[in-house]
Symmetry: C2
Subunit: 214 residues, 2 copies
């Protein structure tokens, strides 16, 4: 029935976008399609068939690259965590003296506001994290970034899992999570001010204890 196919699926998909001859591009197309559908119609609408249509392949093609739909979303989440971590690290590095923590926290907020669907994928319950522990490796790194920023601002070593880091991280995350949900609606200006306040509280508290300690 299709024995006389002259144009292969590979050739069809080539838009001159990449120099790689043909294969190997499908995986990226699938991830991109899933991301786009998730952003525009929500993660529940990200079905294998929709992905396939958007990516220009059959639904089963995705299973050559991901063992299941959950694994696909997990890979997307992994990328998202990576991106979030990079954004926070970059913000911390580029910040002026003493403002690293604030910059990092602001970057976290900016990520959640500008890529809400990605944020929801990372922290919502759309992918079954339990069955695919391969995802979420970069999640832990966020504590490190916060700790590094705090340490640079107050001039003292800070452990990534210290009380201060956890409290600040939890505060910022909780604020965004609540305002993302249906129960708390805050405009972005107030969110920014609240985040700044939390950072100031943390930095001040640590400066005091650092002075009192030695």
């Amino acid at each position: 029935m299709l024995a006389l196919s002259r144009v292969s699926a590979y050739d069809v998909r080539m838009g001159g976008d990449e120099t790689i001859r043909g294969t190997r591009k499908t995986r990226a197309a699938i991830l991109e399609a899933a991301q786009e559908i998730g952003a525009s119609e929500g993660w529940k609408a990200v079905t294998m068939r929709q992905i396939a249509t958007r990516a220009g392949c059959s639904a089963m093609a995705a299973y050559r690259h991901f063992s299941s739909r959950d694994a696909l979303l997990g890979a997307l989440a992994e990328d998202g965590f990576q991106e979030l971590g990079n954004a926070m690290r970059a913000a911390g590095s580029n910040a002026r003296k003493g403002g690293a923590t604030r910059a990092v926290a602001r970057a976290y907020l900016a990520f959640a506001m500008e890529m809400p669907s990605t944020y929801e994928l990372l922290y919502g319950s759309h992918a079954d994290t339990t069955n695919h522990p391969t995802a979420w490796p970069g999640g832990m790194a966020i504590g490190d970034v916060v700790a590094t920023a705090l340490a640079s601002d107050i001039g003292v070593d800070v452990a990534p899992m210290s009380d201060e880091v956890l409290m600040l991280w939890a505060g910022v995350h909780g604020l965004i999570a609540l305002s993302t949900g249906p129960q708390l609606k805050l405009d972005r200006g107030r969110l920014g001010r609240l985040v700044d306040g939390m950072v100031a509280n943390s930095v001040n508290a640590m400066l005091e204890t650092a002075h009192a300690k030695p």
Copy 2:
């Protein structure tokens, strides 16, 4: 095929548990079944057919009481918020002088730890909140409870949406949300101590500003 039914569905379901004659009990049975399945197998496993089997009725019976699966989960979430609010209010009322805020925050933590599936329903993304705004009416009340507790502890009026309330609420919620997720694993003892620390920080900060203000 079932024209000779002698025992009705109503009679079958009566276990002597309630005195109400028959009907009107199905809705409660459905909600209970959904809750139990969610607790034991996760919310993804809460399907209309599973609910029906557990509740002893047909899958379509649920549609006499809820317009959709999302609406059913929404009703469950509404109950959950009510319960959470009640637990927090009760804890605040029974607390000794000056310890209301700590008790309220601890009640929030206890709820999340002892009923993890309910907590996940409330704050995860298992029910489409957007399409069913009837749910989550009691969510807003949580800010009120926190504000009341803080006010009682420091002897000054506190607005439910004030910066202090939002920061504390967000901190506690964020801590629990993060530790519930895959990225941060904290034992309950440390969680309790962190929550206490957040409460102490908030109360101290408000006491200072209250002293400085007048």
